[in-house]
C-alpha cells in the first residue's frame, strides 16, 4: 500500500465506520466489532505512514480545490505523525474500554454514541494530517459538531446546559477569532499552507503579528487557554470514555496541536522569536497552569478535578510553544504524547471507580484500593506520569519544557513549572494513597445529590465493599495497556523525541 493511499484511508476509515455502525446497530456485538475493526485498521494505516515520515519524508495528498487558489490537501509532517499515532493507538484502548463501560453502565443510545465517536476520530485524523489551515479548520469544526451529541448524550437538563456551554465557547472562539485570523492571514500572504519557517515573515509588521498570534491562540478554544476554558469542565457530563479519549486526548490535543502547528508553520519559530510578541502569552499560559491547578485542588468530583488538571497541563504545551525555542517546542510536542497516556489512564480509572464502586467523589474514595487494587495502582502510575516523576514518560516532556524555559532565560517560568508539579502532587497523589492506606470507614456519609448513580436507582449500600470488586475485564485491559504505555514511554521516548527534533531542525 502506498503511503498516499494510507493517508486518505486513515481519514476515511473512521467516517466509513460511522456509516457502518448504525447499520449494525441492531446487534451490539457486531456493532462493537465494527468499531474495533475500524480502530485496528486505522492503527495499521498509521503504522504504514510512520516509516516514511520517520525517514524524513513529508508525504502529501492533494484532494480538491475549494476556493480559487485554496485547496484542501493532506501533508504529514512529524508533529502530525505524533498526534495521529497517539489518537489511533488510544482509540483501540478506548474502544475496548467503552465496551465494558457502556454495557456495565446500561447507557442508552449506544449506537449513536459509537457512530459519533468514530466521526470524531476521523476529524482528529483530518486535523493531524491537514496540509493547510483551511483543511485543518474544516476538520476542527467537524470535531466540534460531532462531539456535541456525545457531550449532551444523556439528554438531561444538565447535559443540555453543558452542551450549550460546549458549543457556545468552541464555536464562538473558532468563528469569532480563529476564522478571522485565518482569513486575515490569507489576505496578507495569499497562502495558508503549512510551510517550514512560516508564511508570515516579511508579510506583516510586529503589531499585526502580535494581534494574529493572540487571535490564533485564544481562537483555538480547544486548547482551553483561560479565559476560554469553561467548556472542558462542562464536557465532563459526557460518558467517561468520551471524557477519556476526547477530552483528555483527541479534542484538547487537537487544540494544542493546532497551536503548536500554527506557531511553527504559520508564524515560524525564528520569526516569532525575533519579533517577541509571544512573551505575554507565556504569562497567560503560566497563569492558566497555576490557576487551573489551584482550582483542581478544590474539586471533590474526580472527573472535574481531572478536567482542571487537563486545562493546566494543556497550558504547559502552549507555554512551550510560546517560548519559541527549539527545546520548548520539543517539550510541547512530547507533552502532547506523554500527557495523553497519563491522563487517559486517570480517566479510565475514574470511570472504573464509577461503574464498579459507584463512586464519583474523591472524599468517598478512601480505602477503594482494597476493593479495586489494580485500578488504584493504575491511577497511581497515571498520576506519576502527569506529575512528571520517573519512571514514567511524563518526566521527559517536563524535562524538555524546563530546559526550554532555561534556553529562553525565563527563570520565573521555570519556577511556575516546578510549583505546578508540586500542586499536581498535592491534588493527585492523595487519591491512590488514601485508597490504599485509609479505611473505607473514614468516608463521610455520601451526599446523595452528588452521587451520580442515585438517578439510576442504585439504592443498596455500596459504601462498605467486601472483597475485590474490579471493573469489567474490558475496562481493566484498557487501563493496563495505557498505564503500561506510561512506563514504556519512560524507557523508549526516542520515536517521539526524534520526530520532534525533525520538526525544529528540518
Amino acid at each position: 500500500m502506498t503511503v498516499e493511499l494510507a493517508i486518505i484511508l486513515a481519514v476515511a476509515v473512521p467516517f466509513a465506520g460511522a456509516v457502518l455502525i448504525p447499520l449494525a446497530g441492531a446487534t451490539p456485538n457486531l456493532r462493537e466489532t465494527v468499531t474495533l475493526v475500524c480502530a485496528a485498521i486505522l492503527l495499521y494505516l498509521v503504522s504504514v505512514i510512520y516509516p516514511a515520515v520517520a525517514a524524513g519524508g513529508v508525504p502529501e495528498v492533494y484532494l480538491f480545490e475549494m476556493l480559487p487558489g485554496l485547496s484542501v490537501f493532506f501533508l504529514v509532517e512529524p508533529l502530525g505523525m505524533i498526534f495521529a499515532g497517539i489518537a489511533s493507538f488510544l482509540w483501540i484502548a478506548t474502544s475496548v474500554y467503552s465496551i465494558g463501560y457502556m454495557r456495565a453502565h446500561n447507557e442508552e443510545n449506544q449506537t449513536r454514541f459509537y457512530a459519533y465517536f468514530a466521526i470524531a476520530l476521523g476529524a482528529t485524523m483530518g486535523i493531524a494530517f491537514a496540509g493547510n489551515m483551511l483543511t485543518l479548520f474544516i476538520f476542527y469544526e467537524v470535531l466540534t459538531l460531532s462531539t456535541f451529541p456525545l457531550v449532551a448524550h444523556a439528554g438531561t437538563e444538565d447535559a443540555k446546559r453543558a452542551g450549550r456551554v460546549y458549543l457556545g465557547i468552541l464555536l464562538g472562539t473558532s468563528i469569532g477569532l480563529l476564522l478571522l485570523a485565518i482569513i486575515w492571514t490569507w489576505t496578507l500572504t495569499g497562502t495558508l499552507d503549512f510551510t517550514d519557517g512560516g508564511i508570515l515573515a516579511g508579510k506583516a509588521d510586529g503589531l499585526t503579528v502580535g494581534i494574529l498570534l493572540a487571535l490564533y491562540t485564544f481562537g483555538i478554544g480547544k486548547a482551553a487557554l483561560m479565559p476560554f476554558h469553561r467548556w472542558l469542565p462542562a464536557a465532563m457530563v459526557a460518558p467517561t470514555p468520551v471524557s477519556a479519549l476526547l477530552h483528555a486526548v483527541a479534542v484538547v490535543k487537537a487544540g494544542v496541536f493546532t497551536v503548536v502547528k500554527v506557531v511553527i508553520y504559520i508564524f515560524g519559530i525564528d520569526f516569532l522569536f525575533d519579533i517577541g510578541v509571544s512573551e505575554w502569552l507565556q504569562y497567560v499560559a503560566a497563569a492558566t497552569i497555576l490557576i487551573a491547578s489551584l482550582v483542581a485542588m478544590t474539586r471533590d468530583n474526580l472527573k472535574a478535578r481531572l478536567a482542571y488538571s487537563t486545562i493546566s497541563q494543556l497550558s504547559y504545551i502552549i507555554l512551550g510553544a510560546m517560548l519559541v525555542t527549539d527545546l520548548g517546542i520539543i517539550g510541547s510536542g512530547m507533552h502532547i504524547a506523554m500527557h495523553a497516556f497519563g491522563k487517559i489512564t486517570l480517566f479510565f480509572c475514574a470511570g472504573a471507580f464509577m461503574i464498579a464502586a459507584h463512586k464519583t467523589e474523591i472524599s468517598q474514595m478512601r480505602g477503594i484500593g482494597r476493593a479495586m487494587p489494580l485500578t488504584t495502582l493504575a491511577f497511581f502510575i497515571g498520576s506519576l506520569s502527569v506529575i512528571g516523576l520517573p519512571p514514567m514518560g511524563g518526566l521527559w516532556s517536563k524535562w524538555y519544557l524546563a530546559l526550554g524555559t532555561l534556553e529562553a532565560g525565563k527563570l520565573g517560568l521555570l519556577g511556575v513549572l516546578m510549583v505546578s508539579s508540586l500542586l499536581n502532587v498535592a491534588y493527585l497523589l492523595p487519591i491512590p494513597f488514601r485508597g490504599f492506606f485509609s479505611s473505607p470507614q473514614e468516608n463521610p456519609p455520601p451526599e446523595s445529590s452528588h452521587d451520580h448513580d442515585s438517578e439510576h436507582g442504585h439504592t443498596h449500600d455500596h459504601d462498605r465493599p467486601k472483597g475485590i470488586k474490579e471493573a469489567p475485564v474490558a475496562c481493566l485491559i484498557a487501563i493496563g495497556v495505557t498505564s503500561a504505555g506510561c512506563l514504556v514511554l519512560f524507557f523508549f521516548p526516542d520515536p517521539v523525541y526524534e520526530l520532534m527534533r525533525m520538526v525544529v531542525a528540518p
Partner: protein, 493 residues
C-alpha cells in the same frame, strides 16, 4: 436559429403560459404546465450563461427596434447568473409545490397559484434580463402584483393582512423607483441603461439626479427589504403558502438586490456615486444593523418560519454590506451570496413546508421530538442550519469567507465584527430549534415516524445537497461571481 431568440423566450414563455393555466383550471394540469415551462426556462438560462461565458455580452433589441429607442435586453455575466438562480430555484420548487400546494391551498384556487407563479417568474426574469430602466419597472410591478396574490393564498387569515401590508409598502417602493426613473429621463432623455451610463456623468452634478438617486435607492431598498425598510417581509414569508415562501425568499429579494447593483454600478457606473457623500457608509451601517438586529430578533421568534424570515433580513444585510464596500471582492462576495443564500434558504423553507405538511404547524413548541418523528426533514434542517451559520464545507462559509476578506482588505473592522457576531447569533437561533427537536421527547400519541412524501423530500435534499456541493467546490460559482463583479466595475457597455 431559435437560439438567437432565447433572450425573448426567457421571459415570454412564462408570460404566455400564465393565462394557459387560467384556462386549464385543473390543478394537476396547471402544475404540469408550470413545471415544464420552468424547466425549459432553466435550459434557456443555462444556455444563455454558457454563451455569455464564451462570447461575452449578448445584446437583443426587442422587436428589432434599435436601442436607445426600442427596448434592449442586455445579458452579461451578472444577469445571466441571476437568470440561472431564478430558474434553478423555480425548477426545484415546482416538483415540491404539487403536494405542498394541495395541502395548503383550497383546491378551487390552486390553478390561480400556478398562474401567479408563472407571472412572478416572468417578472423576475424580466427584471434580470432587461437593459431598460422603465422596462425594469414594468417587470417589477408584474412580479410584485403576482406575489401579493400568491401570499394572500395562504390558509391563515393573517396572510391577507400580510399581503395587504406588502402591497402598500411594495407600491410605495415601485412608485419611488418610477419617480427616480422619471427624473433621470427628464435630464437625459433616455431610458436605456447603457445610454444612461454614458449621458449621466455630464448631468450628475444636478440636484435632480441626486434626488433621483435617492428615490431609486429607497424604492429598491423597499423591494429588497433593506433594514429599516423590511417591515413587510416577516409576515409575508410567515403566512404565505410554503411553496410561495420558498420561491420568494430564494428569488424575490435576490432579484431586487440585483436591480440595486445594476442601478448603482451600471447606470450610475460613470458617476462614481460612491465617492460623493456618505453612501457606502450609510449602506454599511444599515447592513450591519440588519445583520445584528434581525439576528437578535430571530432568536426570540416562536414561529420557525418567522425565525427564518428574520434570518433572511440579516442575510440581505450581508449582501448590502458587500455592495457598500465598492470593491471587486466585496461585490463578488455579494453576488456569490445571492446564489448561496438562495439555495440554503430555499432548502430551509422547504423543510418548513415538509413540517407544515405533516404536523400542520411550524410553531417551535410543535417541534418536540421531531428529530425522531421526521428524521429526514430535520436532518436537512440541521444541515441547512450549518450553512446559515457558515460551517466550513457549506456555501454559507464561502460567502462569509469572501465578505470577511473584502472587509479586511478595506480595513473595515466593525464590518468584520458584524459578520462574525451575526454568524454566532445564527448558532443560537438554529440551536434553539435543534434542542427542541432532538432533546424533547415526542408528545404522547404522535405517530412514530411519518415523513413528507418523496416529491417534497427529494427537492429539499437537492437544495441542501447543492449547498454542500457548491461549498466543497466553490471555484465555479466564485469564478462567475468574480467575472461578474469585474464586469460591473468595467467601463460601461
Amino acid at each position: 436559429m431559435i437560439a438567437a431568440q432565447y433572450p425573448a423566450l426567457q421571459v415570454v414563455l412564462a408570460l404566455l403560459a400564465a393565462p394557459v393555466c387560467l384556462i386549464l383550471r385543473r390543478p394537476r394540469a396547471a402544475w404540469a404546465v408550470a413545471t415544464v415551462i420552468t424547466w425549459i426556462s432553466l435550459a434557456i438560462a443555462l444556455s444563455l450563461l454558457g454563451r455569455v461565458w464564451e462570447t461575452g455580452v449578448i445584446l437583443y433589441p426587442m422587436g428589432d427596434w434599435a436601442a436607445p429607442w426600442g427596448i434592449e435586453y442586455q445579458i452579461d455575466t451578472v444577469n445571466a447568473f441571476m437568470l440561472v438562480i431564478v430558474t434553478l430555484i423555480g425548477s426545484v420548487v415546482m416538483p415540491f409545490a404539487r403536494a405542498s400546494v394541495e395541502a395548503e391551498i383550497e383546491e378551487e384556487r390552486i390553478y390561480l397559484f400556478y398562474c401567479m407563479y408563472l407571472l412572478n417568474l416572468a417578472g423576475l426574469l424580466g427584471i434580470a434580463i432587461t437593459g431598460d430602466v422603465f422596462n425594469l419597472f414594468v417587470f417589477l410591478e408584474i412580479s410584485s402584483l403576482s406575489s401579493y396574490v400568491m401570499i394572500s393564498l395562504g390558509r391563515d387569515q393573517r396572510a391577507l393582512t400580510a399581503a395587504y401590508r406588502y402591497l402598500v409598502m411594495g407600491t410605495i417602493g415601485a412608485t419611488f423607483y418610477i419617480i427616480g426613473v422619471g427624473m433621470m429621463y427628464m435630464m437625459t432623455g433616455t431610458l436605456n441603461m447603457a445610454d444612461l451610463a454614458t449621458i449621466l456623468p455630464a448631468v450628475a452634478d444636478s440636484r435632480t439626479i441626486q434626488v433621483a438617486l435617492g428615490f431609486l435607492t429607497v424604492g429598491l431598498g423597499l423591494k429588497l427589504a433593506l433594514f429599516p425598510l423590511h417591515l413587510w417581509l416577516p409576515n409575508a414569508y410567515t403566512y404565505a403558502p410554503s411553496a410561495v415562501t420558498v420561491f420568494l425568499a430564494a428569488t424575490g429579494t435576490k432579484v431586487a438586490v440585483y436591480a440595486f447593483i445594476r442601478i448603482f454600478f451600471t447606470v450610475f457606473g460613470g458617476v462614481e456615486v460612491f465617492n460623493a457623500g456618505f453612501i457606502p457608509e450609510i449602506l454599511a451601517v444599515l447592513a450591519a444593523l440588519a445583520m445584528i438586529g434581525a439576528s437578535v430578533v430571530a432568536i426570540y421568534q416562536t414561529d420557525v418560519k418567522r425565525l427564518l424570515a428574520y434570518s433572511s433580513i440579516a442575510q440581505i444585510g450581508y449582501m448590502v454590506l458587500g455592495i457598500s464596500m465598492v470593491t471587486v471582492t466585496g461585490l463578488a462576495g455579494t453576488i456569490v451570496h445571492l446564489f448561496n443564500h438562495a439555495i440554503m434558504k430555499g432548502g430551509l423553507f422547504m423543510a418548513m413546508g415538509c413540517i407544515l405538511f405533516k404536523i400542520g404547524s411550524v410553531q417551535l413548541d410543535q417541534f418536540e421530538g421531531l428529530g425522531k418523528r421526521m428524521p429526514v426533514t430535520m436532518a436537512a434542517f440541521v444541515a441547512g442550519g450549518f450553512s446559515l451559520i457558515g460551517v466550513p464545507l457549506t456555501v454559507g462559509f464561502v460567502s462569509k469567507w469572501y465578505l470577511v476578506q473584502a472587509a479586511l482588505e478595506k480595513g473595515w473592522w466593525l464590518a468584520v465584527a458584524a459578520i462574525l457576531v451575526s454568524s454566532l447569533l445564527a448558532v443560537i437561533y438554529i440551536w434553539r430549534v435543534v434542542e427542541v427537536a432532538y432533546f424533547r421527547p415526542p408528545p404522547k400519541g404522535s405517530a412514530e415516524v411519518s415523513e413528507a412524501p418523496l416529491s417534497m423530500l427529494v427537492p429539499l435534499w437537492i437544495l441542501i445537497g447543492a449547498s454542500y456541493y457548491f461549498g466543497i467546490d466553490a471555484t465555479r460559482t466564485l469564478d462567475i461571481a468574480f467575472v461578474a463583479a469585474e464586469t460591473l466595475f468595467g467601463p460601461p457597455q
